[in-house]
Symmetry: C2
Subunit: 318 residues, 2 copies
Amino acid sequence: MTSEQTAGHTLGDVGEFGLIAQLVAHFPQGEHVLVGPGDDAALLRVKQGHVVVSSDLMVEGRHFRRVWASGYDVGRRAAAQNLSDINAMGGRAHSLTISLAAPADLPVAWALELAKGFSEECALVGASVVGGDITRAEEIVVAVTVLGAVAQAPVLRNGAAAGDVLAIAGRQGWAAGGLAVLGRGFRSPRVLVEAYRHPEPPYDAGPAAAAGGATAMIDISDGLLAEAGHLASASGVAIDVRTAELEVPEPLHAVAAATGADPVSFVLGGGDDHALLATFPAGTPLPTGFRAIGTVAEGQGVTVDGAPYAGAAGWTHF
Amino acid sequence: MTSEQTAGHTLGDVGEFGLIAQLVAHFPQGEHVLVGPGDDAALLRVKQGHVVVSSDLMVEGRHFRRVWASGYDVGRRAAAQNLSDINAMGGRAHSLTISLAAPADLPVAWALELAKGFSEECALVGASVVGGDITRAEEIVVAVTVLGAVAQAPVLRNGAAAGDVLAIAGRQGWAAGGLAVLGRGFRSPRVLVEAYRHPEPPYDAGPAAAAGGATAMIDISDGLLAEAGHLASASGVAIDVRTAELEVPEPLHAVAAATGADPVSFVLGGGDDHALLATFPAGTPLPTGFRAIGTVAEGQGVTVDGAPYAGAAGWTHF
């Protein structure tokens, strides 16, 4: 069946194999893909002697809502979230798999949009979609695995040392602002809603940080303070974030005013932008895209302007 | 928290990170794992210059039921299903990720059993569990990605040629018999129920087939005839299965008699044993574990004893 013939059809109508054939048409294969989708497994040429791998889940109602994000948007976000994990190691992704569990009444058009958005985001870093699975479920679950490579040693979470500078790359708090807007039934400021639907992870910043001497790095998916906490814990250090150094864009002030929130709380607590948080030895010129927002010291835990933070600092998954 | 302290607890009690810490304890890391679970991504040494990768989903109520299979059983089956995909390429798995979406009221003990079963099955081929994700959902979804390597060119689905011999390795129909038993509220014949809960994919047969000149191969997860159909379609040939060559173990005869079914239908239609179906040029000595069950000819489609098959020939996912 062609896409035109399935307009208005559901997954139950076209079946697993009918859908797979249509999805695969959205996935161009890079030169490193020796065997692509369609067999029991894909075969990838790996020249670098190693693979960086990460897996993530997105669940409808928890990580996205269909009224707030199209299939295309969810595809973009699912890819961005995973590509960002390789970015946070200082690497670049080259291959991904995407699996979809969904109700039989899901419109085929939604699944095709998901594939389109996913593929387009992957194309931003030149990565190929090489496989996946489709099955029926009560709710939509998108499972992604990403494979990539690093040009040198990966940047882990545990290398931060007292005296390092804490720096950030990419937009931060924008997606949280967009989500707050959508949650109240609004569609503007449009720039924030778009930031939520189409995060723009700083894909060049991860490799730049690795090349530029970063001692530790993590991507911000669960909130700046929560991720800073993971860095501090893994490295056995204390981290202080200085709010005066945080960029709080004008639209966030507008949303904060309308919702009675502190605009800085979006920046400190928000995830989903997939900014990178990294530490560098003091005096190291920060790579392009990074700006200093805090300091690393002996001790443990995360403080804001030298004091414990009282607001919401991220979210947990249970 | 230790496992003892969480006895009787749910995922909602211990939270995402509490559970991850406990799960990771079940996952020993092989020498090729340079960075294991706990960072944004894992880092694997890959000596072979390539990676074979596949992803699968298992959904509660569709691929398993908690009344019929323990967390340990589901873990074993989830691993087996994915390891089998690498086996079907003629390769061996070295690394897997496992992600779990589950309700907050899922007992921690169930998740730990899942990890235990998954890890034990992976250990059968020496593979390491290097990462994953956990999140809340309404129903349980287990998403797995497996990475592996082949010793020579992979065996694909599209290489079967007229004149080839069709051969099978591993138990076939046993798991389907076990599922039929469970579906009627019985627990015996126990050997079939155990075959459903703990499939025993012929992990040595895949590499043996590749070394022994197999022209095409697939693993039987959706039924022998359905998978034979995939082979025939991908290779552009016709396949005939001879029922006289099929092994129908005595317990299947007993189940068939009790349920009014044709015992051969379990062998032709059943999946979940993860047997391998392969084709070899006529005259090639079949590798250890394989037995001839049919022939390949010019044409298309699958026949049984030379005629179209009227029974259920597998299942689709929508």
